[in-house]
């Protein structure tokens, strides 16, 4: 398959707000269940081990007109909860049996409560993760939280999630992370061969496809992309930071690259690379997932940074590893985590002479000209003065 064919399929999956592929997966066996999850991170291994399909819910994007959802939110709250409610109320999620709301911010936290009130027949879980990282404190808490999630899914599905099943699922997701990292590394090394819109669509496909299929799509893309001849542009390399929850419209990603930037790393779907190393397959699989979260997980604005000297180091190391020449802080309007953290990250970039710009967006932003101008000026300034 060519990259064009692969990406065309990914685009179709991205555009499909009826989640047809996930519906078809479920319809193939009446015992099957689908569990939706919102950003930033849930342990999909557990959902998979239950024989269920994890379905990433990232709002309705710029193709969805929000009518009902707006009635639930004031103007000064971001768009992702509105479009997610819109998905719920317009029955686009009527096949979803459970929803997980990770502890990312107060809006998503409260959305979990709204979902409980609005869709009382759906299994809903607010998925809290520890902000204290010692194994015997945060780890023990988190292991118990994971076991409660397991118990909830077992009851929902009428299944037992064995340790063996969990190890197998962990192995498959280790492979998924390895392939995703390979795509990201490939893009960082040869950005002209892996345009960011394509990488983005590949990642979005992983939100709806069974992980086994996604692994195949990733492998196919890597094999095809390396062979494809594409023009190399005189773009500067930048890292995108702050877009880990409400997603930017595709045109925004396209606009940044058209303006003269190669995006060599981003935090769009952090769940994909949240765990930094392979999760061990020996021993207690739940304890392994806990240890992986506590000691080898990505940094994000939704997480507490327990040492002042570590603030911004993850971003800085990403800049260095990818050879990036600058950072674009792109946060959704009203995003507490990204906007509160940004000044600290900016200070860290200043300390290390990493240039940056910042702007806000919404998932349905339509005006790209200001983005292109800002990104273009930024790219020019890097080329001229860095």
């Amino acid at each position: 398959m060519s990259t064009a064919e692969i990406i065309a399929r990914c685009q179709a999956l991205y555009d499909d707000l009826d989640f047809t592929s996930a519906r078809e997966w479920k319809d193939a066996d009446p015992k099957r269940k689908v569990i939706g999850y919102m950003p930033v991170y849930v342990p999909r291994e557990i959902i998979h081990a239950a024989g269920m399909l994890p379905l990433g819910i990232l709002g309705g994007g710029d193709q969805m007109e929000v009518i009902h959802g707006d009635a639930y939110y004031q103007s000064y709250i971001c768009r992702i909860p509105r479009s997610t409610i819109e998905l719920g109320l317009t029955k686009k999620l009527d096949f979803v049996d459970g929803m997980l709301f990770p502890s990312i911010c107060d809006v998503i936290r409260n959305l979990s409560g709204m979902w409980q009130l609005m869709f009382p027949d759906t299994y809903v879980r607010y998925f809290d993760v520890p902000q204290t990282y010692q194994d015997h404190i945060g780890g023990e808490y988190y292991i118990e939280e994971l076991r409660e999630l397991i118990a909830g899914l077992e009851k929902l599905g009428g299944v037992i999630i064995t340790d063996e099943a969990l190890r197998e699922s962990t192995a498959i997701y280790n492979e998924n992370r390895r392939l995703i990292n390979e795509v990201y590394d490939f893009r960082a090394e040869q950005p002209s061969k892996a345009p960011s819109v394509e990488v983005y669509l590949l990642m979005r496909a992983g939100m709806v496809l069974p992980v086994e299929e996604h692994n195949q799509v990733l492998s196919d893309y890597l094999a095809a992309a390396v062979l494809e001849e594409r023009p190399v542009r005189d773009n500067c390399k930048i890292v995108i930071n702050g877009a880990f929850c409400e997603q930017p419209p595709l045109n925004l990603i396209r606009s940044i690259e058209m303006a003269g930037c190669y995006i060599v790393d981003d935090d769009y779907m952090l769940i994909n690379r949240w765990l930094l190393d392979d999760v061990p397959l020996e021993g207690d699989p739940v304890a392994n997932l806990s240890a992986a979260f506590l000691h080898a997980s990505a940094d994000s604005a939704a997480k507490y940074c327990d040492r002042a000297e570590d603030v911004g180091q993850y971003l800085l190391s990403t800049v260095k590893k990818t050879g990036a020449e600058g950072v674009i802080f792109t946060a959704p309007s009203f995003c507490d985590p990204a906007l509160l953290e940004r000044p600290m990250l900016a200070d860290r970039m200043d300390e290390h002479d990493v240039p940056y710009i910042s702007f806000k967006y919404a998932e349905n932003s339509g005006q790209m000209q200001p983005i292109r101008e800002q990104a273009g000026t930024f790219a020019d300034s890097i080329k001229l003065w860095s």
Partner: protein, 431 residues
Amino acid sequence: MNATAQTEVIKDSSMLLQKTMIAENYDALTSVQETGKKVSATFVPGNLNELVMCFDMLNNLPEINAINNGMRKKSGMMVMQAEKMGHSEDVCTYVKADIGSMSRGNLAPNGKPMPPPDLLLLSYTGCFTFMKWFELLRHEYGCETAMLHVPYEGDGVVTKNMRDYVVKQIKENLIPTLEKVSGVKFDIDRLRENLRNSARAEDDFVWVLESAKNKPSPIDAYFGGVYYIGPIFTAFRGTEKAVDYYKALRKEIEQRIAEGKGPITPEGDMQDERYRLVVEGPPNWTNFREFWKMFYEDGAVVVASTYTKVGGVYDLGFRHDPDNPIETLADYCLGCYTNRNLSQRVDMLEKYVNEYQADGLLINSIKSCNSFSAGQLLMMQEVEKRTGKPGAFIETDLVDPRYFSAANVKNRLESYFQMIEQKRHGARSAA
């Protein structure tokens, strides 16, 4: 007994007393260079004042500082200063007032500079912003920071796992850190004694809150209520002073009930109680008096509010328990209002509307506070559905005066009061 202040604002003795208490705490904080006392900064939800006192440390609450600056009309400049420094216009204005204040000398109401904290006690209770607020302050001060993660009651229950987690953090992280910073060894009996005081004050505090079930209500449980929560939510819970304060406050309110009086307002006792409201959400601080006047001048009294539960929920039975000192601190944190899920909050509002015989629910939605605000429109719908009483929705902000539009707010309130009248009229006609 009323006391007329020089500014012609009428206040009850209790209001003056709490003002004196808060001022004394600021005096103590701004004197640490002389006294050598150590300072812990923490948040109102999850304020472990009884524990902090065990280490002879002073308690500084940045939210209270922001409120003070808001009420003294200084926060607007501070917020704008923080925005100039790169903090987003979209984030919490308490944070920006705090950071802006730091850049302008960080002056206390007594005009003296606030001390840098020796410890940031990051009680991560009921609000995501707290986490990043103290990371920002740590970034500025470079001081010791202790995280206490209080899990959110996502399912509306406190599990053993959640409680054990909080207890372990207090025992194994917080207490050793407090010992290290203060140089004082932890004495659990001191904590027990403080908790005993807390429970005594809480009994009288709840009595005062529930006095609003009377008709007329002798208190305003929102505008007046913010004075009443001062000692118990800040540096005084656990002290004899707080016990005495709530005793005195209770006596004052008992007298009001005996005399059939309505609540005190800045212009004297409210005479004609026409509307009884439950209010959800924090008040606006920059235009506090103006906002309050819009209520009492139309005879509207707030009989119950949720903001008076933000620093602890005591009117559902919880009391600090000296027999289980660490566990009770965990229970207190887990039960703070904004740490409860939406269903629990709706249940509370429904209970208040019914038990306090309210005419309706008013939501004051705060532009920069997602913890309170996200989901309030659904909450209003639910409470209306369950109680049959009308809801109203207004939007202001905490301490950014740019987001208080007096005309808009007054317009909506007047329409709401008219709606209540019409419903009453309709009900009378139907009968």
